[in-house]
Amino acid sequence: MSRLFRKLFLSNRPAGSKVANLETSLDPSVTLRKLRNYHVSKTDICHYGFLGSVLLFVFVVNPAVWIAKISVYSLFAVLFLVPATSQFFFNALPIFTWLALYFTSSTFSAEHRPPITVQVLPAIETILYGDDLSDILAASLNKPLDFFAWIPYGLFHFGAPFVVAIILFLCGPPTILRGYAFAFGYMNLLGVISQNLFPAAPPWYKLIYGLSPANYSMKGSPGGLGRIDKYLGLNLYTDGFSNSAVIFGAFPSLHSGCATMEALFFSYVFPKLTPLFVFYVCWLWWSTMYLTHHYFVDLMAGSVLSYAFFQYTKYFHLPLTEPSVYSRWSYAEIKKFSVWFTDPLTSNDNDIENIIVPTGDHEIELNSLENSVTPSIFDHDRSVSRSSATSNVSLEVQDELMSSSRPNKQRID
């Protein structure tokens, strides 16, 4: 097993590279020393201030006994202080904050919750998308379709975040897991805040009660997943969804948000498999509507939230992937996305892409340079990495290209 692991992941490790190394120290003074030397930025203040406020709110509002709450928070403090555990747990702070708020949501009393809307989502779905899409897709039911819908919604959804995290850790560039935890955690956290501030009834409510007024004494429904319980002789989904933490939390769909986030991160690392990930998201969208758990507008809200957080993380936090590299241990250095360098509207005289070159032999030479690496499923077209690849071209070649350029402009692409 370890031989296979070495062959797959460690065989191309650059000599002396330490970027993929993990912290193994158990000494809290290492973390304290780092903390003392850390310069806090405005973004850090916003980030930790926001998460800290939510955690403080949960600490005060959660009805658990004080000793239990103090114990849990102390345990996390220890995990954050020990370097070996801190590298995973501290970076997952947005995820823990989301989970803390989500599980506390069920304890909010009715008088502190906003009124429930039942007409807004079906109305918006018709107005923006031309019809009750969720209603139509759940109109024709049969057993094979029930199972086909159950796979992404009732099975993959719960395991996928862990599988994606493990694969990203092993195959993506070092520190990508940090970006995933940040984007995934924030997307879910904002989703749960939105579900609490704007309670809205899901499609199963409309099927059972029509558009009549809702109240917080009502139990949740498993929707189409109730049929899966019957087929399998279980009470799993009926129990789970009847006592859900956010029964009227249709908007946004975090099933859709999670699937989109997973697809975006996987497409980032394995761009050639993007159609497969797009299919997964489309499959999950259909299943949420077929199982009467969400309106199409909820799915869009979840996916848009994910896309916005992914883009932000990509621009400011994510390490760049390298073509043909599929192991974190194969990276010699960590490169970040350059907001300015990537801007197609900026003119940078030092950028090879801005050099005017003729079509002909020189272009073939440059293309052969680009294509010299063996292609694989991990190859992808990204201008940033392409630029860094072409930057290996020597200054002499650049001068030669400049001198032989023609007036009609042609870019090296």
Binding site: I116, A123, T126, I127, G130, S217, Q311, R411
Partner: protein, 217 residues
């Protein structure tokens, strides 16, 4: 000449706005495929729905091509994308009004009939209770339902107009950038050897480019 934004949200470079605008619009345009998928469940579509869903799928194709080349844009492709996006914005406004009319007219009797189960009477000032005290007060009033419906619709349209202006601003900057100068004559000579779809695609790009040069450059 209309005033176009110089940056995205006043801070970020335009290409970020373009990438986000196209990504969000592509996600929304997937509705076309699900609308047509509804045919398999035996649900019929009227003319307006057909028009909405087919135009969504066509626009999805154009936006996907444009999104692929945000970091190394081609002026012809982005000219087509901005023209399609602008026409799509006009169509979206029309469809929004049309389907709003359909929704409210179909539900009118349900909303206004006091005996209807759907009817959610507005609590008068003299009957104000602490929220949650009664089960009735835990449900949004009819006016709140209308308010949120209109608010979300208006926000969706407003963001669409903003994204449209970002795309226009991006294409305007491409038109003025020496790096993206286009020589259309070269491409026109190749047209004879292309298939029907490619010819239509290139012609659409040329028409869009001319429109952009006339109105945005």
């Amino acid at each position: 000449m209309i005033h176009l934004p110089k940056s995205f949200l006043g801070v970020f470079p335009l290409y970020m706005g373009v990438e986000i605008a196209l990504g969000i619009t592509i996600l929304n345009k997937c509705s076309g495929a699900y609308g047509i998928l509804g045919l398999l469940t035996g649900h019929g579509l009227d003319v307006m729905q057909w028009l909405l869903y087919v135009s969504s799928i066509l626009a999805l194709g154009v936006y996907s091509q444009a999104l692929k080349q945000v970091y190394s844009p081609q002026l012809l492709m982005f000219s087509l994308a901005v023209v399609v996006y602008s026409v799509d914005t006009v169509l979206t406004c029309f469809f929004t009004v049309w389907f709003s009319g359909q929704w409210f007219s179909s539900k009118h009797s349900e909303f206004t009939d006091p005996n209807s189960q759907t009817h959610q009477s507005d609590t008068s000032a003299s009957q104000l209770n602490t929220r949650g005290n009664t089960q009735k007060s835990q449900s949004a009033s009819q006016s709140a339902e209308f308010f949120f419906t209109i608010l979300i619709t208006v926000l969706a349209l407003a963001s669409r107009f903003y994204f449209n202006s970002i795309l226009m601003a991006f294409v305007q900057r491409l038109l003025r950038h020496p790096k993206y100068i286009v020589d259309i004559d070269d491409i026109e000579q190749d047209l004879k050897n292309k298939n029907w779809f490619a010819r239509c695609w290139i012609k659409a790009q040329h028409i869009s480019y001319k429109w952009c040069r006339q109105n945005l450059a």
